[in-house]
């Protein structure tokens, strides 16, 4: 029985690999797994791609979006891992994929999921309340040396707090970090004047900025953001100085928006999805999404994407080590 079964399996394997050696195209509806809650940045990222694929008919099968945001996205990545070998399940996330396993006991490792592509990089800014006495990063650092600055952000030991700890190390200051459930909450707390600072993405704080309830200090990017129409009466995104030009020596800090496949993925399936995403990246709708959310559109796939992940992992590991966050 066992012999028969294994022979049968290996025969099936031969057929399967013969088929996959030719080309891949989805044969049933495709599941988009969102590793975040409804309405968050990752949800919109996935649904934007879904709508572009449908509109331009980049793939013949329908798409079903499922939200699995439990445990900071751990739920979705673990779920992705259980789909080993299934090319009909795409996992949408952020650098959480390789950062979370370093700081919490979760059920996957970075190299277990199959990377497909990174399509966008979200920016980080320092936002403060409008009545705060500091106008520049330099004044802020001076104020932080003199007194206790309260900084809000999304989640703990996640991107926001990591950035703040880097700022602390670079500027030689100490602040109080208060974790909230989302960047949206941190934006509202800042607008209410309950905290002094947050490190939100542009889209998370633009509403408050327009209403004069928050003020950007600087952006963690090597160059200023793309020019565009004025957001407030006096300022456009490109009028915000970079943190580096204000003397806060952090070259760059961005959050990649990435797509993965489950483990053990045949090469043609990876190539197929990378190709679909590359086509999505080239559409006008994608450019409009990037502009609307003030992100940077950069496409990384294959070797290039893996190199980026490894480098980012190594850089973050150093911060985590210094903060004693690494999970044993």
């Amino acid at each position: 029985m066992r012999g028969y079964r294994s022979k049968f399996l290996s025969a099936a394997f031969v057929i399967a690999s013969a088929v996959s050696a030719m080309a891949f195209s989805p044969s049933k509806p495709v599941e988009f797994v969102v590793t975040a809650g409804a309405g968050g940045g990752t949800d919109i990222f996935a649904r934007t791609i879904q709508s572009i694929i449908q509109k331009h008919n980049l793939m013949s099968q329908p798409v079903v979006v499922t939200l699995k945001g439990g445990g900071s996205g751990a739920e979705g990545f673990v779920y992705g891992k259980t789909g080993a070998g299934d090319p009909h399940r795409l996992i949408f996330g952020t650098s959480n994929q390789w950062l979370l396993p370093m700081v919490a006991k979760v059920g996957w490792k970075r190299e277990e999921l199959t990377p497909v592509a990174a399509l966008a990089f979200d920016e980080f800014l320092l936002w403060t309340r409008p009545d705060a006495p500091w106008k520049t990063a330099g004044e802020l650092v001076a104020a932080a040396k003199a007194g206790n600055i309260k900084v809000g952000g999304s989640q703990s030991k996640d991107l926001d707090e990591t950035l703040l700890r880097i700022v602390e190390q670079v500027a030689g200051i100490k602040t109080t970090y208060i974790p909230f459930k989302s960047g949206g909450e941190a934006a509202v707390q800042l607008a209410g004047g309950h905290i002094d600072l947050n490190t939100n993405n542009p889209a998370e704080n633009v509403g408050q900025w327009k209403a004069g309830q928050a003020r950007p200090i600087c952006v963690f990017s090597p160059t200023r953001l793309a020019a565009g129409p004025k957001v407030t009466d006096t300022m456009a995104w490109s009028d915000i100085p970079t943190c580096k030009e204000q003397g806060l020596a952090i070259e760059e800090y961005k959050m990649p928006r990435v797509v993965y496949l489950p483990p053990n993925m045949p090469a043609p399936a990876v190539a197929f999805w990378a190709d679909v995403l590359r086509k999505v990246f080239a559409t006008d709708e994608w450019k409009e999404y990037i502009a609307r959310t003030s992100q940077t559109g950069t496409f990384l796939a294959g070797e290039e994407f893996t190199r980026f992940m490894v480098a980012d992992e190594a850089r973050s590991r150093k911060v985590f080590e210094a903060e004693n966050w690494l999970v044993k």
Binding site: S27, K28, P29, V30, E31, P62, V64, H88, T176
Partner: protein
């Protein structure tokens, strides 16, 4: 409808004791889980294990007091579960557990059909034809509703490839 066998399997006193012990054990498990974290109070407020640790302790204490009270109570106890009632509970739970076990290999719809037929026809003594009809129609309705109308896929087992769905 006769209740069946009135022999007492479990008295209320026994049930109270059993549940209090289980709740106390749960308290211990929580306490144990909380010990993996710092259970203290730092300068900036309670640490991750602070509340779970105290929850566990309180749960053990509260169920301990309940246990003591029951143990100190004298006099006859009311019945909690008769043999007849226990049989009815098992007749309901066992097919349901079988249903859940079957979902993995054959999917929710086929398992559901089998479950409905067993629970309604065999155990509920509803006439064969009627229970058979229900066992087929309910899963078919759910299949159309979930897979096609609402696109909220449920596990399908062998039906998935058959209909070309996720």
């Amino acid at each position: 409808m006769p209740l069946g066998d009135e022999t007492i399997v479990l008295s209320r006193r026994q049930a109270e004791i059993g549940f209090a012990i289980l709740a106390g054990l749960a308290g211990f498990v929580i306490l144990f889980g909380a010990m993996e974290h710092d259970t203290g109070w730092s300068r900036s407020g309670p640490e991750a294990g602070y509340f779970p640790f105290r929850l566990g302790m309180l749960l053990m204490a509260a169920s301990g007091v309940i246990l003591l009270r029951v143990l100190l109570q004298r006099g006859p106890s009311e019945p909690f579960l008769s043999w007849g009632a226990a049989k009815k509970l098992l007749a309901f739970l066992l097919p349901l557990i079988g249903f859940v076990l079957l979902i993995g290999p054959v999917g929710l719809y086929l398992a559901g059909a089998a479950y409905l037929f067993v629970a309604i026809g065999l155990i509920g003594r509803v006439p064969w034809l009627k229970s058979g009809l229900i066992a087929v129609l309910v899963p078919v309705f759910l299949f159309i509703a979930f897979e096609y109308a609402f696109k909220a896929p449920l596990p399908k087992g062998p039906l998935g490839p058959l209909f070309g769905l996720i």
